[in-house]
């Protein structure tokens, strides 16, 4: 199947002809296949092909937007007419700066299109998924409760009244697997996943093996006791907390409206001096990588926090114009017709003198916990910086050794305190989840409320 592509410049002109003083058009066209398995067998194969259009227009300082899935010219015209009509009845925004005037590609190249991933068919995915199921279920007591493997390609094209179009082709793949293990009459489940622009067999297999091992630990997990010792968050859980709590806090929009604990702290030490946080859109194959943002502005690499000191916030065109500066290329939209909001591309968490081996860290801990999996970390509060998550699989650490698996511990605390004086160190390899790349983080200001 071919991706559906329309001429976005023509759509900009159509909006102007219908009365818009300026317009911005985003087209996202994609095709994908998904193979799904449950209970150790393939369940269904799904193919999708969509073209989604987002049109934002302004009439003077009045702004309106419309969008949706489009099939033909009449759909497009309906969306453009609706956007113009909404703009004309909108209330003026006195701060409206117009659409982004700098439309173009970043100077650096980035690998986001992988030929082999694009060429994967539904039959290929079914075969690969089946192989994972067979590998996992060859071990006694294992059931693949559910698993899904997807791959696809797409193109994003953006133009506005001042420039473009800019175009980026990308691929994507995702795999998740939920394994149930039975051992000695006890049962446990564990869920593992990854997403990337590049498919590779090895990562799929590692993900399955990780879920397998953890599922047996989950079967043996007992209710956790409260502890106040250091807590080690594995990469995926650390990434989830940072994505939930730090990404919104460094958005200039939240800062300007007083919804960030980092307001007024530019140039100040906000984290441990060992911590540097970089926004990097050029990491190969990462889901946040790309050469332009959702306004068509070139992306840039920048340090947000350098040795604990807050260096910059992230800006889209609107928030940048409020402060009389240029966008940092961080204007991203939830959907193509939504207004952009500043958010990171990929965040890289770098802790100075991080240990390569987590065992070296554990050996120094008299009492603590290693958290392997949580639910509800996204419920943490970015406005106050307060952490909330429930560990559904963790390991007690006693006298320098990993102990028995536990479950049900509620984690609480303040992210600024934990990444400040509470940041002990980082360890292990750098892994990326949710567009956040981090090592395991060792924190000693987390409260752990046990369930036993």
């Amino acid at each position: 199947m071919e991706s559906v592509v329309f001429d976005v410049e023509k759509i900009v002109r159509l909006a102007e002809k219908l009365g818009a003083s300026e317009a911005e058009v985003t087209l996202v066209s994609s095709k994908s296949s998904i193979a799904e398995a449950t209970r150790n067998t393939l369940e269904r194969l799904i193919t999708r092909r969509t073209a989604t259009l987002g049109v934002r227009v302004a009439t003077g300082k009045q702004v309106g937007a419309a969008g949706g899935e489009v099939a033909d010219a009449s759909d497009i015209e309906e969306i453009v007419r609706r956007a113009v009509s909404l703009a004309k009845t909108s209330s003026p925004d006195p701060n409206w700066p117009g659409f982004n005037p700098i439309v173009g590609l970043a100077g650096s190249s980035v690998e986001v299109y992988h030929d082999a991933t694009a060429s994967l068919t539904g039959e290929d995915l079914s075969r690969i998924l089946n192989r994972q199921v067979e590998m996992a279920t060859s071990r006694e007591g294992v059931t693949i409760a559910s698993a899904s493997l997807s791959a696809g390609e797409g193109v994003t094209i953006i133009a506005n009244s001042y420039g473009g179009p800019v175009e980026e082709k990308s691929t994507s793949t995702g795999y998740w697997v939920e394994v149930k293990a039975r051992i000695n009459g006890k049962e446990g489940t564990y869920y593992s996943w990854f997403s990337s622009a590049r498919f590779d067999d090895k990562t799929v297999e590692e993900t399955t093996r990780d879920a397998l091992a953890r599922a047996f630990d989950a079967a043996n997990a007992v209710p956790a006791k409260s502890t106040r010792g250091p807590v080690i968050l594995v990469q995926r859980e650390a990434a989830m907390l940072i994505d939930t709590l730090i990404s919104p806090a460094v958005s200039a929009y939240n800062v300007q409206l007083g919804r960030s604990p980092l307001k007024g702290k530019l140039g100040e030490k906000v984290f441990s001096h060992s911590l540097t946080i970089t926004d990097d859109p050029f990491i190969p194959w990462e889901t946040g990588s790309g050469r332009f943002d959702d306004e068509g502005h070139p992306t840039t690499r920048k340090n947000i926090v350098e040795k604990g000191v807050l260096k910059t916030f992230l800006y889209d065109h609107y928030t940048a114009s409020i402060e009389g500066r240029e966008s940092t290329g961080n204007g991203f939209k939830f959907r193509p017709w939504n207004n952009p909001s500043p958010s990171p591309t990929n965040l890289v968490i770098d802790v100075k003198d991080a240990r390569s081996n987590i065992a070296d860290v554990i050996s120094d801990i008299k009492e603590g916990m290693l958290v392997a999996s949580t639910i509800g970390a996204w419920l943490s509060n970015p406005i106050s910086g307060q952490i909330n998550a429930t560990a559904n699989l963790a390991y007690m650490i006693r006298n320098g050794e990993i102990g028995s698996p536990v479950k049900g511990a509620v984690l609480g605390g303040d992210i600024y305190e934990n990444l400040g004086e509470g940041l002990v160190t980082a360890a292990g390899d750098l892994q990326c989840y949710h567009s956040v790349c981090t090592r395991m983080l060792v924190l000693n200001k987390l409260r752990v409320a046990g369930s036993s």
Binding site: T41, L45, I46, T47, S146, E178, L257, S384, T390, S451
Partner: protein, 483 residues
Amino acid sequence: MWLDATDGCCSVESMDTIRDDIKRIIKYALDLGADFVDARVESYEYELFVYDKDRLKEQSFRTTRGAGFRVVYKGAQGYASTTRLDVKSLRSAVEAAFRNARALSLSHTRKVRLAPYPALRESVSSLFRIDPFVISNKEKIEVIKNLVSVAQEVKDVESAIARLGLQRDERLVINSEGLEVAAKTVLTGVALTAVARGDKSMEYVSDSKSRVAGWEFIESLDLNSLGRSVGELASTASRASTPSPGKYRVVLEPEVVGLLIHEALGHASEADLVLSGASVLQGLLGQRIAVEEISISDDGRHPDGYFVPFDDEGVRKTKTRVVEKGILKSYLTGRAEAGELGVEPTGNSRVMSYKDPLLVRQTNYYIEPGDWKPDEILEAAGDNSIYVTAKGAKGGEVDPGMGTFTFGVGISWTIENGEPAKPLRGVSIGGFILDVLKKVEAVGRDLKVTTSVFGGCGKGGQLVRVGDGGPHLLVGELIVGGR
């Protein structure tokens, strides 16, 4: 509440033109060799207005239209869809679905067996008096602008965000057995978030009001009162303390009960999770899972919930009693799960949109009311208990396989002398599904079910509208984490 259109009063007209084409395409797929075909056609419109502090931040319109097919061939299921509704594109989509099913049938695939279901031919629309889509934008903007203004007048409130959402969703399901069902739902709502900076912290509190209804619902709301109460709660929260983490005796207000029961038991009762072994309720049918005072239902036609008169296989969705006096009586099923379990489908097979695969989903899931008055429950809780409320709650998450759940709830209160006393901020609750329902000590008589035009329930990457609720509950022990 609902108008039944079988008498011709409210046919879902915009779906009429495509019916014959879909039926021809389904016959074509059967000629290709398909054993069973169903088609889901959807026309969806959504308007969103967002007023943030001092400006109209967003005014947008979204439309989705398309058709999706499921083909069953030798027990294997293939899905494909199209945004183009011409005959050529529909044929191409059903061919792709057939190819997917045939390819899968060659692998080690479990054979789906759909439970029998009659070939219904019905068309139903939710009731609304004033079509919200014809109200002028000026009037809509005024509503949220005033909400923001009222909330921002409250001490400590730095800013407020108000949203107005309007949804029209029309769905048509046709299958190769002659079933032909259409439903139209109009949903309207407002939401307000206030951010306050007090002496203790910066906090936010949210509240939203949605109903399956037209603009008359917005007109019925006391918006000034809503704006003031959200602002005042945010101010209170920003000056409140966090609780010490630990186990507490708690009183849960109805909105929290809704969140808890949807997450903690609802997902675990979904038969696809049960059958795959990813639910702690597997094998517990007929067994006690809660105290006798607890009964739980899933009802697609509850007047205060979301309107799901049929699921997306066209199965009529009426009230399913999941738990009766503490005994697990039924799982939620679609035709595939019901076929495997040898029961009748409960009408819970749903999709986010026409292009998504069917999953077992809840509709409006709630605990049935008991006998206690809410003030009696607060009094019975005793001192050192916590009254957990939902305003500002972000939702929850559950691991149905492990039985753990967690919620970020709203501003809560200590209980002293049978009344809410000191405010608490940053409260989260967590626990094990099967423990909590056995520790319920009192069930209120004040059932409240709510839905939302701004969110829903996520599963397998699909978000669907749901409702949930219950009465006040007294729970003897729950883990409370201070965020």
